[in-house]
Symmetry: C2
Subunit: 234 residues, 2 copies
């Protein structure tokens, strides 16, 4: 299927794992957490149970590091049958603080692509998670000035995008979203008749994974790097 | 000093303790926390130390319930010299979950005033804290439809307001902010030459308190209830 981008006026970029590394830090944190709780369970079981706990708490805590830390604390109490030590509790809090204090590591080609495309398009940043954490990461990234608007959403479903486009007075046909998550950055956009380009990151959080059947017949392109955007959009 | 509101086109409402009860729940949580840690310290000392911990963590965690819970967990470890029980840890997590699950209790006159003023002004909601928590409270409040725009800020300083007014294309002279916090809802607005009306709540978080010298000579009105707004704005 030939996809035309000639009507695009505004490009939305996802942030975590599209502009900069994020999921890798969560994976590292999970590994560290599993090590701390090794006396009580296998690493694999701890991973599974932590994911279940995160999903249970998601409606209450939402996305982001703080909710993740609270879920680790709760999981540590549960999986140790209330035998976990206070030393481990302190270590869990520190995993979270370290995550929030991480430097921002830009992905390949990001600055190039933003510089190039900000000449001809309005660029906006569309991310989800902790408001303060996302603002801090953007500031650390040095990319703020490329963006006309920053939007931190509590979730990235069709309704959230429709509201955003309405608010910014953009027609779906004029909007292109670029991101690494099929579930959050691609499918909702295709479903509201906007455009989307998928740039996968090497690892995807289980919660963001979708079945192949959900992407069947959906009109979006997949690129292996943001740098290919120049070729595709020409 | 006579203040004229005749140029006002947009009214911004703070949410917590302006439209609905919030600080009361934090006070209750602090009391409960102090009870849990009574074996280790006096209630007064625990209160003071928790506040210090919140201030230490504020740059990292920001405002809202999740950061508050993480600070309680850290404080419990510290004040007990790592002797706090896992039962107490569970109780602390539950304090936070209860806060997030609280029903929304509207303050006097809120619905009346919003209904009335939405006829002649654009109303926007301007709040800070956890994004998801604030969205959830707004939804529970049933007030969503009165607002033309919802803005959750990571902080409420002059710069945050200037950006917001810019983004919404509103001149400061056309904007009136209404809220309970002198520090967050009133002084930054006066300083950027917008308008502000103070409607105090019966209790104010220590972090939001300002010295009398900071309000000297600032042109804002104070009302004892939102209901007085009709008289003042006529």
């Amino acid at each position: 299927m030939e996809i035309s981008y000639k009507n695009i006026k505004v490009i939305g970029f996802d942030a975590d794992d599209t502009l900069w590394v994020n999921e890798t830090y969560f994976r590292d944190a999970e590994l560290e957490f599993a090590k701390l709780l090794a006396p009580y369970e296998t690493a694999n079981k701890i991973d599974q149970e932590l994911f279940k706990m995160e999903m249970k708490n998601l409606p209450l805590y939402g996305y982001g590091v703080k909710g993740f830390v609270l879920s680790m604390v709760e999981m540590a109490l549960e999986i140790s049958n209330n035998n976990v030590s206070n030393t481990t509790m302190n270590a869990i809090l520190n995993i979270g603080k370290d995550m929030l204090n991480k430097p921002v590591e830009l992905l390949e080609g990001v600055e190039d692509v933003l510089k190039e495309f900000s000449k001809d398009y309005k660029l906006i940043l569309v991310t989800k998670g902790d408001l303060l954490d996302q603002e801090r990461k953007l500031e650390k990234s040095g990319l703020t000035n490329y963006f006309h608007h920053i939007e931190v959403l509590s979730d990235k479903q069709e309704e959230n995008y429709s509201k955003l486009l309405n608010h910014l007075d953009i027609k779906p046909s004029e909007f292109l979203m670029i991101g690494n998550s099929l579930k959050s950055d691609i499918l909702p956009l295709i479903n509201i008749k906007a455009h989307a380009i998928h740039v996968p990151f090497h690892t995807t959080w289980m919660h963001e994974q979708v079945k192949e059947s959900e992407t069947n017949g959906k009109a979006y392109k997949t690129l292996s790097s943001l740098l290919e955007l120049k070729k595709v959009m020409r």
